[in-house]
């Protein structure tokens, strides 16, 4: 995957180049807006990372110009400006994502990969998700823990699916109830605890645990973390 990085701060550009190369990408660096625009239009890149505050031609203008010619090229804005107006302006000008400085490199990488994935085929959730010793196959509709297939009721399946999709993040009781029935009148928060209890029992020994988040809901995580 070939990326163009438009960033005028040489130190940051150098760090990013090395890091991204280390993640397996090919990188070219443009030190100002004019060069960035030229390279993006004339050469083939899989993704562009644009700083907004570029000399000669500013990032927003480059973004608009490139977007006019290449509407499907994934473009990420990387900038110090985090105000709402700037965010909206960037997204309106055609940016696919907006990341503010300073940032954590893993997040930058994850977002770049997400954009590339989106461009090269919609894969929202992997068909098979492995967490700990749990192998969750959405296509085959099977959950296997260490060679043993789990017996899951439809509600338990939906619940586990939701928790796995939101792995390491909180899933609220309201979200769970909504996942079972979208109709708010039929939602019953009281029975969730029972299902969680059952799931926990079934997941014993899978190195996957469901944490109770007081007052909010639950969170699935692989054991050995935290």
């Amino acid at each position: 995957m070939k990326l163009l990085l438009a960033e005028d701060d040489t130190i940051l550009a150098d760090a990013l180049t090395v890091s991204l190369k280390g993640s397996g990408f090919e990188i070219e660096v443009a030190g100002n807006g004019a060069v960035a625009e030229y390279l993006l239009l004339r050469h083939d890149f899989d993704l562009g990372v644009l700083d907004l505050g570029l000399p000669l031609v500013d990032g927003l203008t480059v973004l608009k110009k490139v977007r006019a010619v290449k509407p499907t090229l994934p473009m990420m804005v990387l900038t110090a400006l985090d105000g709402l107006e700037q965010r909206v302006a960037g997204l309106n000008a055609g940016a696919d994502d907006y990341l503010t400085k300073p940032f954590d490199f893993p997040e930058l990488e994850a977002r770049i990969r997400a954009l590339l994935r989106r461009a090269h085929g919609p894969v929202a959730t992997p068909a098979v998700q492995t967490t700990g010793l749990l192998r969750f196959d959405r296509e085959a509709r099977r959950a296997i823990v260490d060679k043993t297939t789990l017996e899951l009721s439809p509600r338990e399946w939906t619940l586990l699916d939701l928790l796995l999709t939101q792995r390491d993040r909180v899933v609220t009781k309201e979200q769970i109830a909504q996942g079972w029935t979208p109709d708010p009148n039929e939602q019953n928060l009281g029975s969730i605890e029972v299902y969680i209890h059952r799931l926990r029992r079934k997941l014993e020994g899978s190195m996957v645990s469901i944490r109770t988040v007081r007052g909010l809901g639950y969170l699935l995580e692989a054991e050995g973390q935290g």
Partner: protein, 501 residues
Amino acid sequence: MLRRWTSPLGALRRMPGLTPGTRSLHRHLLLWLLLPQLVLWLAAASFTYQLADRYANQAIDASLSTASRSLARQVKPSGSGLLIDFPRAAQDIIEADPDDRVYYMVSTPPGEFILGNSQMPQPPAIVEPRLGQPYLYDGVIHDKNAADQKRDVNVRVVALYLAYGEPGKPQQMLVQVARSRTSREELARQILIDTALPLSLLIALMSVIVWGGIRGGLAPLARLRSVVESRATNDLAPIRLEAAPEEVRSLALALNTLLAEVRENVNAQKRFISDAAHQMRTPLAGLKSQTELALSSSAVCADPELQARLQLVHESATRSAHLVSQLLALARAEPEAAMAQSRTRFDLQRLAREVTAEQVPRAIAAGIDLGTDDAESPDGVDKPLQVLGNAMLIREALVNLVDNAIRYAGRGASITVSAHSEGDDAVVTVEDTGPGVPEADHERVFQRFVRATHEGNGCGLGLAIVKEIVERSRGSVSLQSVQPHGLRAVVRMPLAVIPRP
């Protein structure tokens, strides 16, 4: 006494509140309007009084002169002597008024008593008295009253020198008539009362009118003052003044021009700070990224001391980045910026739960149990806590509070976020079981760059940001200690009034 009144202006200046530049406009106007008027009125009154007094005296003196002439007629020269034809009845008439005693004396040659009261005071010595010309003077008669006690009577005397006798033997006669000054004094007093009373009323009425007029005239100024005084300290919006007199309007205009300039200056400064903060982020990002790269290199991993040092560099970079973010957040929370942002109605409880859910992974990483504890309503449906404000800013405030708790509560602690209503307020509390903050610091830590502890990577702006945001949204934030140890941050905001359909 004389010296004190020599310089009335100096005395005036020494009076409190009258040194130039510090006296009030009100008092100044009152002083300059009323005092000269008072003085002029009094002068006019005194002049009028003296005039009236003089005319009254002239009348009295004229009557005395007439009396002396008629008395003189009663003394007719006959031959070489004088025939006195002064019937008792006439005497009685003259002497009738017991309050206003009339004395008379005829003497010839002048000084030699022949008729009347011998107590008559001497006329002033005149070498060649003119004949037939009444001389008027004041004197004292030593008299006895009805109880035969000695009494001194002040009198006004008229002395008339007359000539008689044959041409060869000229004789001089002195006729004196005296009248006690009681009636004159009575008259004077009466005149005084008759002028003083209406004059006082006039002065009182005038003072009231002047005072009322000044008050009314200065009212626009007082209005302007109250408008300015009721302003919040940071409010630089133009002053609106309807229907004000010219002078006040031009003052308000001048004020508004000044306010506009100050506003522009403040905004320019804020923009500069904001730009500067933004600009700092790029080199900080470079610093952080390079340090991370260095930390992941094999050479560094093999050298623990180098690794530790680089770790500290990275921490410092992270702290700087955090500080810059907080500075920008604080700048965003300032009123000028906040005014441009919209206020909407939103559910504070929902926002609190969202913010908490977002922070849970971070809490887990820090070994802290983060959760919520909302009072559940009987039917299981949470009643929304509707408030009016800028949702993004309030979110920032809540994030700061939870972030603070996670930073400082310590591994193993628990943090509980709860939202409920209390009377007319919506209340959100963030309570932790960490080490807490000493009561003495509960107010202080809301100041910028004041930290309760020097551990950790905080920069001291978190609570200042929360306070700024919450207070701009017409709410309040405070800290409470928790037993046995911990801290509870309480944010209060007025519940939005739901308009009746």
